[in-house]
């Protein structure tokens, strides 16, 4: 479900690596990715913040539709992947929360990665703090 996995570092459960492949992103691309990542994570947090007994798969569909409306998942492949993941979401609320929690973890990890990239970009430009 995470739309940023294609260019970012792998998730926390990826295979052991010797060193992360340095992504070649411009500061503007990093900023855009960071902004969209925040939108995605905020949407996920809205879902998991719903009181127990009130979260359904339909809510996740609606959130995904809202994000697409805001310009996320504009790449056709990312959109297809999202739809595929949405159809596999469990109906049971506890399982659904577990799946969404996993997405939160990955998205939040990605945000950390963007912060590192932004800090690197800032350092290369002559110092200053990151995002």
């Amino acid at each position: 479900m995470n739309p940023f996995l294609q260019n970012g570092p792998p998730g926390p459960q990826g295979a052991p690596q010797q060193a992360p492949a340095p992504p070649q992103l411009t500061p503007e691309q990093i900023q855009t990715a960071h902004s969209q990542g925040e939108m995605f994570l905020s949407s996920l947090m809205d879902l998991v913040s719903k009181p127990r007994g009130q979260l359904t798969k339909q809510d996740a569909f609606q959130s995904a539709a809202d994000l697409i409306g805001k310009g996320l998942f504009s790449d056709p492949q990312a959109k297809m992947k999202l739809v595929g993941q949405l159809t596999q979401l469990p109906d049971d609320e506890t399982a659904l929360r577990q799946a969404l929690g996993q997405e939160v973890l990955q998205a939040s990890h990605m945000m950390s990665g963007f912060k590192v990239l932004a800090a690197q970009a800032a350092q290369q430009q002559g110092g200053g703090n990151a995002v």
Binding site: P12, V48, H109, G113
Partner: protein, 440 residues
């Protein structure tokens, strides 16, 4: 030195360390299921022990997450930012191996109710810390609105019930300020210079930071002791002058007609120092019906008699307009500034022109006075006549009004008698008078 996961973005020198930590965390995470499986295998020896140890483990993880989330969200007031910071803290905790990713995912999703995101968000609304505890420790601030200021004191009730002033006086004093709408609202007052009722904007009574200005934030609603009597006398005098101007203006047309007749009569007889002698000779010739050599004809004598009569009438009217009540000095003054049969024709013409100009000036002044009153009926009452007259005199030059009745030669003579600067001023005033419609 342990890496500060919660604040590393603010430290650009920790980037390299952060990358190493991320890599190490991934490695730990990838190993974690193995460790967890080993632990579960160990615990599976006893189902009771397993459940007990799982509960202990879950409680331990929950405590860790609560700690990192509380640390990450401290000082953040925006509810959504608090949630984001909380999720970030959980992710860092996973990367650091503090909690396993499966537990973290379950906790993040609220699957087991381990993280209550609503409670985390709402804490921002409720504020940090326990208010009752803070007040017990540091006292309770109380603010009192004393009208112009908000005075805050901090007091603490001791165990014995006694109230203690913790700051030894006022903790803060803030001036009350006005909204833009309140600033432009007008309040009635009394003008201390003129005594006239007027309104002023409330904002003019206070400074930018709400402090009262020189008027002390208060408006006079009356006059100082003794001022009222003075204003009454002054106001009555002004009102009397205003009335006099109106009365004078009411007679302008009559006097101008009289002046026109005087000017016409000048051509019907020979005015001058000896005119009285010739008039008497003409009267004698008329009375006895005898031809007297050199005596003026009957019509010229009649014209001279009429001129003398009209000149006397004019002098009397001017005497009245001067506020005359019968003193010889005022009547004498009026007579000497009036046309006379004993003056030369040219002299009379000049006097008549001057008097006509004066009448125009009176009409113009009265017209301006009426406009002045209409412009602000509250402040420009009869008591303000003195102020009006002072303003009017700044733009009033009687010679401008007189000049239009003079012959070109007389005008040239008048200008010649002025200094160059005075000429320039006169011309400017003449133009202004034309613009105002006072002269043609």
């Amino acid at each position: 030195m342990p890496f500060d996961y919660l604040h590393f973005p603010e430290n650009p020198f920790a980037i390299q360390q952060a990358q190493q930590e991320l890599i190490a965390a991934r490695n730990r995470n990838s190993m974690f299921p193995v460790i967890q499986q080993q632990a579960q295998t160990d615990l599976a020896r006893s189902s009771v022990g397993l459940q007990s140890d799982q509960a202990k483990l879950a409680a331990e993880y929950k405590g860790r997450l609560d700690g990192v989330i509380a640390q990450a969200t401290a000082g953040i007031s925006d509810p959504n930012q608090r949630r984001m910071a909380g999720a970030d803290a959980v992710t860092r905790a996973v990367n650091a191996g503090i909690v396993p990713p499966d537990y973290a995912a379950s906790a993040l999703g609220g699957a087991n109710g381990d993280i209550d995101w609503n409670a985390i968000s709402n804490q921002a609304v409720e504020g940090q810390g326990n208010t009752a505890e803070l007040q017990a420790q540091f006292g309770s601030p109380q603010t009192q609105d004393i009208g112009g200021q908000q005075v805050t004191t901090v007091t603490k009730v001791g165990p014995e019930g006694a109230t203690k002033d913790l700051v030894g006086g006022n903790a803060s004093i803030l001036n009350n300020t006005l909204t833009p709408g309140q600033k432009i609202a007008r309040v009635p007052t009394i003008n201390q210079q003129t005594g006239a009722p007027e309104t002023v904007p409330v904002g003019s009574l206070y400074g930018a930071t709400g402090e009262p200005n020189a008027q002390g934030g208060a408006l006079p609603t009356g006059l100082p002791p003794g001022a009222e009597g003075a204003f009454n006398v002054s106001g009555a005098g002004n009102a009397q002058q205003a009335l006099a101007l109106q009365n004078l203006a009411g007679g302008v047309n009559n006097r101008k007609a009289l002046l026109g007749n005087l000017q016409g009569a000048l051509d019907s007889f020979q005015p001058g120092p000896q005119s009285d002698f010739w008039k008497g000779l003409g009267q004698l010739a008329q009375e006895y019906k005898v031809p007297i050599p050199g005596a003026p004809p009957a019509d010229k004598t009649a014209a001279q008699e009429a001129f003398a009569k009209m000149a006397t009438q004019l002098a009397q009217q001017q005497f009245q307009s001067l506020g005359g009540t019968g003193t010889d000095a005022k009547l004498d003054s009026a007579i000497h500034t009036s046309p006379s049969e004993f003056l030369s024709k040219a002299g009379n013409q000049e006097i008549i022109a001057m008097l006509k100009g004066n009448e125009d000036a009176v009409a113009a002044q009265n017209d301006a006075w009426q406009r002045w009153q209409q412009a602000d009926p509250v402040r420009h009452g009869p008591q303000s006549f003195g102020n009006f007259q002072a303003q009017f005199n700044k733009i009033y030059d009687p010679r401008v009004f007189q000049a239009q009745y003079l012959s070109p030669q007389q005008r040239a003579t008048m200008l010649k008698g002025m200094a160059p600067a005075e000429q320039t001023k006169f011309k400017a005033e003449y133009k202004k008078a034309v613009q105002l419609g006072w002269v043609q």
